[in-house]
Symmetry: D2
Subunit: 382 residues, 4 copies
């Protein structure tokens, strides 16, 4: 007999006749009702889901096409104001396996952010680690703790948790970029703090320099400032370098492929160059919970299928090709985004279409939750 109290229990157990399950008897049913009353759940009914032989992600491989995203973001630019409360005109990828939550993977948030001419997104800070990766255009400056940082196509801008930041579009054109954050991870572990800053920037912060203060201090390869203040600030989690410019990334990738051609071991595998954004003060990943990389697959090259614990989101920065995630294969082109769930094999092939790409390479920006797995020694790959 079911009492009203039972009805209130969120626990619902069903005795089923199955191998490795106890015999379904009235006594077992009564036991299960007792479990429900006391808010208990046995391992033996759950173990298959909780403790699989290898990761079986709730998330699914999925592709979002840039063309559609950009169109909707532009519509949002017309309809949705940017301001305190909503904070940002950011539109997140919702993995269809994750119950309608705005999570690209179980741990990662990926969104397109859109800022109209002259708009300013108000200052705030949060413990969530974030970055911006620019797919199109230029003309927005992000002001981080008073330091205006330019944003242009291909630039990667890490934004470690708990630093003040605001965005300002100094041009007559709208601008769009990719936001990546560890929102789902901090949501699930319940680590989040958020604070509102000033509603408007000062005039001194509305300057639009090519290079930020942080780049002038920390953007010189292998050279660290000796100033005690600079070094102390760099001890905070995440990189003190606030922008990684595309021209450097592009040159590093080109160098790897050139070295490979010269017979020097330099690439991940033949035709597959890759760089990882790193904290110049520690050499670690650029953010405590997020790894960010750019992979260049030379014209006609193909990567070996690889799988690892943890999930990734990829963006096609340039070129076109075919990617395979688990059982899904897609043709992808500039701007497209896709999710690679934990332990799903991933591979990519570069297929230059016509003459519109000089190099014919497929450039993929990737971010993942690998630092979480490595810090906790849960990383595996195959």
């Amino acid at each position: 007999m079911t009492s009203p109290a039972d009805l209130a229990s969120p626990v619902r157990l069903r005795a089923v006749s199955a191998p490795n399950q106890p015999d379904v008897t009235p006594a077992l049913e009564e036991l299960y009702r007792g479990f429900e009353r006391e808010l208990l759940i046995p391992l033996w009914t759950e173990i298959g889901d909780l403790m699989p032989l290898h990761p079986r992600s709730k998330a699914v491989p999925h592709l979002w096409q840039w063309e559609n995203l950009l169109k909707l973001a532009a519509q949002a630019g017309e309809l949705v104001p940017v301001g305190r409360g909503g904070e940002r005109r950011a539109i997140a990828l919702a993995n269809p396996g994750l119950s309608g939550r705005p999570f690209a993977t179980p741990t990662l948030w990926a969104a397109i952010q859109y800022l109209m001419p002259g708009e300013e997104a108000p200052e705030h800070r949060h413990t969530q680690h974030a970055f911006r990766f620019v797919l199109e255009g230029e003309g927005v400056w992000t002001v981080v703790n008073g330091d205006p940082v330019a944003m242009k196509r291909g630039d990667f801008l890490p934004q470690a948790g708990w630093n003040w930041h605001a965005h300002t579009n100094a041009t007559a054109e709208p601008m769009a970029w990719i936001d990546g954050l560890d929102i789902p991870f901090q949501y699930l572990t319940e680590a989040q703090f958020f604070a509102r800053g000033r509603d408007v920037l000062s005039d001194a912060e509305r300057i639009t320099p090519d290079r930020s203060y942080s780049e002038r201090l920390w953007g010189h390869a292998g050279l660290q400032p000796v100033s005690a203040a600079a070094r102390d600030a760099a001890k905070a989690p995440g990189s003190p370098l606030l922008a990684y410019r595309w021209e450097n990334t592009d040159r590093a990738l080109a160098d790897q492929l050139a070295l490979e051609r010269a017979g020097v071991t330099s690439t991940v595998e033949p035709g597959h160059a890759a760089v990882r954004f790193s904290d110049p003060f520690t050499g670690d990943d650029v953010l405590p919970t997020i790894r960010a990389e750019v992979h260049r697959i030379a014209r006609g090259a193909e990567t070996k299928p690889a799988r690892e614990t943890g999930s990734s989101v990829y963006t096609v920065f340039d070129g076109s090709g075919t990617v395979t995630v688990g059982s899904k294969t897609w043709s992808v082109t500039r701007g497209d985004l896709f999710a690679v769930p934990s332990w799903e094999p991933f591979s990519a092939r570069s297929e230059a279409a016509g003459s519109d790409s000089d190099s014919g390479a497929l450039d993929l920006f990737r971010f993942s939750d690998s630092p979480v797995f490595e810090a906790l020694k849960l990383n595996r790959s195959a």
Copy 2:
């Protein structure tokens, strides 16, 4: 208009008239339908839930009474066989805030495990980090990679991921203990591997020594074996010491309180002694994702309310008293378990009932996900 395709989308957006939300217009409705079609969710409708000013746990403070747990576990002992497939007769606490999942908190699993006389739980291993803490009785040996480890009331037995282990009850009495694991954390991050071992132990492993090999190698305070093999093995994640005996824990706590009485700074706060189980090879937490401690609150003492990011589960090992978690206050006694969600203030008061406890102290065993937060620099306290 809603198309059949929309119906298939797990994303459901509702335009609402509210401060900080865009005006509800047909154009906005159409935009939201576009978002649904493309599997997108805007930040501005979700930010309050995703990015709160401070952690607001989905989990709730909750108390499970040992008396009820033990009774149900004993019934399960009669009805539910232990064997391959179900693997363990473990019954997990299901936090009522977590949608009927077997999670004590968003990251922690806590269960009562019950083994009948002569029973053997089959060998397996998994990446989930685990421990056993014994509330009652003795007579079970856990065989870890061939090393039989005795279990007695008060003993703490860490079980770092990916080590083979089986349980065997060598006595004529049933035995119950607490299992703690990072199952929810690994479930959410999707890091899990599992492997089945041998179905039965060898006779050589069915010996029942007081001290395990691991204790003889690693159980001497401040003394590490020099053997290369021992040191290499200790480099695997988690503690090489497989049992922390209650008599040592008890003495360490008593020492702290005695030092405090002698005027030496030794306790967390007046009347509040505490020890943390640590890896003797690294000094770190005993498991990469789980912190384990015993707190002793002297008769009549009371702890200052404290909050921190991350969640805990407590067990009353001995004594009785009153605990407060957020807005809930409970009288607790031996064996009771309760969950402390992220950022909920916690305090405890020792209230010796009658003469059944010599010391009158309240001994609380606690485990938490703090190592996750510290490794990722997400820890905060107040």
Copy 3:
């Protein structure tokens, strides 16, 4: 021609006719005089000494016999007062290869210290890291930052740099022990600070407890105090545990040999057990510059010759046997000390003499500069 200025130069160069050396000509002689004037020395005349194919120590293998040491120390007890200025009645081993300096090896200081009944050695502190290892007797307490720590045969007492300490003999017997320090290393690198403390201890510090405060806080295997004060203090260089008692060391060694007999991998090699004193807060060596270990070589067992970069000093704690260091072989017995220079092969054989030793094992206490080499990645072994 030699000018008076040349005479003042500490540099003296001699052109020699030898393979790999430039032809001796008047021009070369003039060049060398120029080098002397300008305080310059060419690599080509020095490279053989400075950059050998492998370490060739200036120090030599040498044995000091305890009987002789103790006799002289006792005489010093009669003739040399202990007090401010001289600070300690410590008599250091001077390796005959090291030019009459009080250095047992190029980096290590080893001395016998002797304290007469009722004497007190005044409080001081220094950056040099130190330890005491007791060969005979008991009855002295070392007061470290106000914490009286008992000393008894076999006890190991680390004394990390910059902690206040004084010694007091509370008995009617003189007492002798071994002092080990990194005096030569800090002398050569010029890192030393020294400060005088109080000339006399307070009455409250003249208590003679069996266990120090530090042991009560930090002396429980795998259990760390949670108190913020205790943990902060433990962050200072070196171990917070101020005494490692012989009974524990002895048991740990016996356990290793017993495990070996039971077929469990536990020893360095057959019949050779060894423990390393470690910092319970970090698992690291007990002192930043000094490693300390006890090796037990079972009756009749023999160690394989081993060499490593860096130097060691050994003391025979118990038993007797034969040791070989490079080209020297000695019979050794209780109390004897010997130096093992860098890269000299070392081996030992246990030879129980008669029935005066129950176990017949040879117990060797060893300390070395290995942590220096490991921290700087200069360690090698063969």
Copy 4:
């Protein structure tokens, strides 16, 4: 009475009548003879030298003038061949306080190396960590593990221990540079290994590229190669980046001074910019035992006297000024070298002479043994 055996002892003790010393009596004299016989030295006669209140370096502040060094090096170029055995035409600074040893400070070697047109210095490797800093000219390539690395004025080339390297002068001009090594440190600690490589380079290694393979892999600010081979190689001690070009160093220093003028905290102190060469894979010092930095003191600026444990050698890269080391003050100009012993206060003032320097800044290259002190927690500053 002195026996023949005594005469053989390197230990010589003299009983002196002094405060804090035992009374000089025949018994004391006899005790001291006993000490000599047994190779013992008491602390009480040595403590003032061994354990000073603060570091009192054996080394003295000293200046070597570039003009004289270069002249002698050029003479050596005529008289001393380069080849196997002598290995390098390197001429070391011999600090006048260090008994005629080729040590600039107790731990550091600094030399001028000179290579004639067409010469090749043979391949070898050694555990000593080294670097080259180019004061004048260009045209030499150092071939490191097969990778030819160009050398030009202002370039800094770290050479971590145990990597093969050879030098080849591909031009018709001689070339000179500064060699810095930890030879004295490894000599004192006796850690050194040395191996000879091939006597001549292959033709493929005699190419003269502007950028080495290592720069193309590791020389992109904040960008690390993802290739497993590159990352594994980078785990070896020291930086995987083999050249730090002057144009980058110069720009980083100029940026700091420009930021300072813009009101952004960026410099060590007003008018004093400084960069540290770092390992891009770890963010650590570029070599395990050597720190290397360039300091720019703006025209008319002056640094605050600073002292620290450990020693340094400075080179004037550009400009002129006045430097003070302890009680010595010198006017210095391009190329001059000077030693700063442990704990001696150091300050510098820029004094542009005439119009020969555009900026008027004093650029000082500095290297020190700070990583040794920091790794062992012996670092202090004031």
